[in-house]
Every structure is written in C-alpha cells, then in structure tokens.
C-alpha cells in the first residue's frame, strides 16, 4: 500500500479522464493521482487470491430468458420528453456542432 510506487501515472489519469469525458484541472489531476493510487494500492490485495478456474459471477440470481413479447405499447408524449431537454428545436433535441 505504499504510494511511492504508485499504480497510476499522471498520463493514466489524463487518459482515463479523456475516456470518461471529464476535465480535471492541475490540482484535481494531482489529487486524483494520489487518491486513486492509494485506492488501487488497497485493491492489490485481490491479486493475492488464486482464482484459477473460478467462474465469474455476473448475475447473482440464477435467472435466464427473461423476455417481453413483441407487442407495441405506450410511447412517451414528445412534449413531455422534450420538456426535460436543455435545448430543443421543434420535435428535436438540439446539440452544438459535432465537428
């Protein structure tokens, strides 16, 4: 759990922030590096367990084949949906230029 050989570099922090669409200023980046480093250090103890051949649990309940039938149901009123939109144009949502 030593922070000296941190598990996450400033480059990693920048890469992950980019993936997550978050902007961090320099102070936030430093803080993130330190804190994530110590959390990841703590998580290293997971590597101590031998999990060879152990199945991964993705769903804790043994459910399978939960379906709905192909029958048209109620839709949401366009006005009700667009009432939540930060910006709209007629029946559309509106976003600033993409490129």
């Amino acid at each position: 759990m030593s922070n000296n050989d941190s598990l996450i570099s400033s480059g990693d922090v920048e890469y992950v922030a980019k993936l997550a669409h978050l902007h961090l200023d320099e102070t936030e980046k430093k803080d993130m590096e330190t804190k994530l480093g110590s959390i990841l250090g703590y998580m290293q103890q997971l590597q101590q367990i031998d999990t060879t051949g152990v199945e991964a649990t993705t769903h804790v309940l043994p459910l399978a084949n939960v379906f709905r039938e192909d029958i048209v149901g109620e839709t949401l009123d366009t006005e009700k949906a667009l009432a939540q939109a930060p910006e709209r144009d007629g029946n559309y949502y509106k976003v600033p230029k993409i490129l």
């Binding site: 890469y15 980019k18 993936l19 669409h21 991964a56 993705t58 769903h59 309940l61 459910l63 399978a64 084949n65 939960v66 379906f67 709905r68 039938e69 192909d70 029958i71 048209v72 149901g73 109620e74 839709t75 949401l76 366009t78 949906a81 667009l82 144009d89 007629g90 029946n91 559309y92 949502y93 509106k94 976003v95 600033p96 230029k97 993409i98 490129l99």
Partner: protein, 481 residues
C-alpha cells in the same frame, strides 16, 4: 491488380423485422414525426431498465440458421461504452464475447464464376443508435445537430465475415446472396437505401508473394452493393498507387462518396477507441434449449436453394425463370401463392415475370410484397382459360387490380370485358355482318381466305369487342360454307 492481392472482409448491420424495439415496447416503424416513437427506456432516462424482445432473439437465431452458423445455446449481452449524442445511455447494449451465432458460411461465385465458400465469423444482437439531423448539408458544415431517437434501440444483428473475399465482384456477390438469405428467412427488410441493411467494407492490399496482410482501411456509407463494388475498385486503385509511390497507407475509416465516385477520410473528433466492454448487469443471459432451437428451425421458410430445386425439378420451370423468381423474394412468394390456386407453373411464372414485374418496376415505390391478391389473379387466369376474357383485356384488368383492392370480377364487369360466347347472340351478329358486307362475303366464297379476317373484325366491332373471336370465326365459316 495483377501484382497485388486484395483482402476483403464485410460487416453488415441488419434491422430485425420486429414490431417493437429490442428493449422496450416502442414501435419500430419510421412513419411519423421525429421523437414520437420514444419512451423513458429508449431515451435512457435515469433509472430505466431493458427487457429483451423475445422475437428479436428468434430472428437473430434464425439468421444464424440461414447463414449456416452454430447458434449458441448460451449467450449474453455486454455494454460497449462511448459517448455520442445519438447514443442515449452513453453505452450500446451489444454482445461481445458470447454472441448468439458463430462460424457460418455462404457459398458465392468468385470472379471466374466458381463457387467459393466465404466464412462468417459471428452474428450478434445489438441496439441501433438514434439518428442525427444536421443543420447543414452534412456533419462537417453544420452549426448544430438534431437528435431523433425514433430509431434508438431498434433491434439489429451485426454479421461479421472472415476476410475471405479477394475482389469487388466476390464482395458484391456475397452481399447480394446474404441479402437474399435474410429476405427469404423473413429476418429483415434488407433495404440498403433506407438503412435497414448496412454494409461496411474492410479492405487491404499487399504485393503478390507477401504473407503479411496490408494496412486495413474501413469504408462506410455504402448504400447499395453497386456502391460496395465501386468503392472496392476505387480503393484498390488508390492503395496501389500509394504503395507504388512509396507512401504508407494509413489505417483509417473512409466514407464513400457515390456521386464523386471516391472514398474520403472520415472526419471525427479523435476519441480513444477503448470501449470498456463488460457484462450488461441489467439483462440475464439467453439460453436456447433443444426444444426452442427446434421451434425456431421449424419456423424457417424454404430457402433459395431448396426453392430452385422445387421450381425446376417438380414444377418444370426453366432454370432461367426459376432464377428470376428467386432473385426477387416478393415475386417468388407470390408465385407460390398463385401456384397454390392456379397450378400451371409456366403460365403463372410468365404473368409474374412479365406483366407483374413490369408493373412493380414502373413506380418509384419499393414493394415488400406483390400488391395483388393471388386468388384474384388466379380467378383472372381461369377466366382467360375458359375463354370468357381475352388476353389484352386481362392485362387491363391486372393493371387496375395492381395497387387497388378492386376484385377482378368487378373490373371485368365495369369495362364489360366478358367475352360473348353465347351462340344465339353471336349468330344474329354474324348474320347481320354477312348481310351488310356482300363484297367480302363474295371474295371469301371465291376462295379468298383472308376476307374472313375482315368479317371477324366487323363482328367484333358490332359486339364492342366482347365476342369470343375464335367462336366468331367458327360461326362465320359455318354460315359461309
């Protein structure tokens, strides 16, 4: 391209023919205004959860069967994470390590007309994204864009081939064969212009004798298999000229510009492509047991190869006619329906491949089915056979039946197309014409056989074209001999 080898793999996205979206009960049809086929689930509002459409699973499994795949007994969904305004949840629900189908193949003709087996790596289910309407003519010159989520979460299958194709011709043939299979199995509308079938090309070239594959370029925005063909030919030339000039090929995505006949690099914000796939916790896995698998298999309609065999071997159609019918699924389906009520294969095929095909091609409209009732057409063909309507009138009736729900009998009656075969009616008309035309009568009696044609025409005129011409000729001959 003699000194270079081309390697092509294709990726298809086909919209499944369900009534509702993959994870919610919104309708999938595109009629109607923007953002009207939406609900909290497909809008990705906070707190919503997906519930899988059973029919989508069945269609995806059916696609696997149509394309000779192994259908998985166990498959599951994953999340593919990336940001884009047409993606309501910030992730796409798709299948990553355990797709519903694997290891398929299709036999297609290569450039020399020989059969070649093209392998299919996988088929997986996923949700479609919404649509962006751009303020300008395209994304690059737009000052804003307008998301419409009607298409968001429409069920798709993605079909990925192995890089087994080596020419534009093969790729086009593969695409057309695949489209036909999906149409026959009734899995998708497969309309490339409307986007219900989409095809992306992965292409690389390398010098003869080099084992290692060249740099891969992806081509998107291909709206027809003709475009697929042209784009590949263009790309082969472009890459060859780069190599010849010692310029390295860049691994990139390029867009096909059909009007300009060229590919161009796609502009995009450079986001890292790290999709962070992980198992979708909101959806339990899919298990297809033997019984369900058998039910899905039983729902498979007759596929093209079996149909060809039946049409030629059992019904005696020519290879050419059978091929024409099979290449056009609506016509082929209609043929079966018509044959069931009018079991004369050759006549049925002639009408379908002649007049009906012509009618269907004469409008801009695209048909999923022949807009005619097979029983009504069968009625009309039986009337011709009985001699109660002539061929020309029948064609007029057919035209009116096309795209209207009028019954054949009503159209015949409206136009008075019924042929007169009642001898008592015809006898008096024949007598009247003989009396009114002494000169042709004399000519005929003098041995001028051709004069009978004139007299038949006069009787037809007298009966407003409704007389059965064969009978008129017979009656005239009888009266004059």
């Amino acid at each position: 391209m003699s000194q270079y080898l081309t390697t092509i793999g294709l990726e298809f996205h086909a919209e499944l023919k369900t009534k509702t979206k993959i994870f919610c009960s919104c309708p999938t049809d595109f009629a109607g205004d923007a953002n009207t086929h939406i609900c909290p689930v497909c809008l990705g509002l906070p707190g919503v959860l997906p519930v899988l459409n059973r029919h989508a699973v069945e269609l995806a499994a059916k696609a696997g069967m149509a394309l000779n795949c192994e259908v998985s007994k166990f498959s599951k969904f994953d999340r593919k994470n990336y940001f884009y305004p047409d993606l309501p949840k910030g992730y796409q629900v798709t299948q990553y390590p355990l797709p519903i189908c694997r290891n398929g193949w299709l036999m297609v003709k290569d450039e020399d007309g020989n059969d070649k087996k093209i392998r299919i790596n996988r088929i997986h289910m996923e949700e479609d994204a919404g649509k962006l309407v751009h303020s300008g003519s395209n994304i690059s010159d737009s000052s804003y864009s307008l998301p419409d989520y009607n298409r968001a979460a429409v069920p798709l299958i993605e079909i990925v081939t192995e890089p087994d194709m080596s020419s534009a011709e093969e790729a086009k043939n593969f695409g057309e064969t695949l489209r036909l299979m999906l149409a026959y199995a009734d899995i998708s509308d497969v309309k490339m212009e409307q986007g219900s079938l989409r095809c992306d090309v992965n292409i690389s070239i390398r010098p003869q004798g080099q084992d290692e594959l060249g740099v891969k370029v992806e081509i998107k925005n291909l709206n027809s298999f003709r475009a697929v063909y042209r784009a590949i030919v263009y790309e082969e030339m472009r890459q060859k000229s780069l190599i010849d000039n010692g310029i390295p090929i860049v691994q990139e995505t390029r867009l096909w510009d059909d009007a300009a006949g060229e590919t161009r690099p796609m502009r995009s914000k450079e986001d890292a492509h790290d999709y962070r796939y992980f198992p979708e916790p909101d959806l339990p896995p899919i298990i297809i047991d033997d019984q369900w698998m058998a039910e899905i298999a039983a729902s498979m309609p007759e596929m093209p190869d079996a149909k060809r065999k039946r049409l030629t071997e059992e019904l005696g159609l020519s290879d050419y006619d059978a091929g024409q019918l099979i290449a056009n699924p609506p016509l082929a389906h209609f043929f079966d329906a018509l044959y069931a009520e009018y079991p004369e294969a050759k006549i049925a095929a002639n009408w379908i491949l002649g007049d009906i095909a012509k009618l269907m091609n004469s409008t801009e409209k695209e048909y999923n089915v022949v807009p005619l009732s097979a029983s009504e057409l069968a009625f009309l063909l039986k009337e011709i056979k009985k001699g109660s309507i002539n061929n020309n009138s029948a064609k007029t009736v057919l035209e009116e039946m096309f795209d209207s729900d009028k019954k054949a009998a009503d159209i015949i009656a409206e136009h008075g197309f019924s042929q007169i075969s009642d001898t008592s009616v015809l006898d008096s008309a024949v007598a009247k014409i003989i009396e009114a035309n002494p000169k042709p009568v004399a000519d005929y009696k003098a041995g001028k056989q051709a004069a009978i044609g004139f007299l038949v025409g006069q009787v037809m005129k007298e009966t407003k074209g409704q007389a059965n011409p064969g009978m008129v000729k017979e009656l005239l001959e009888k009266a004059l001999n």
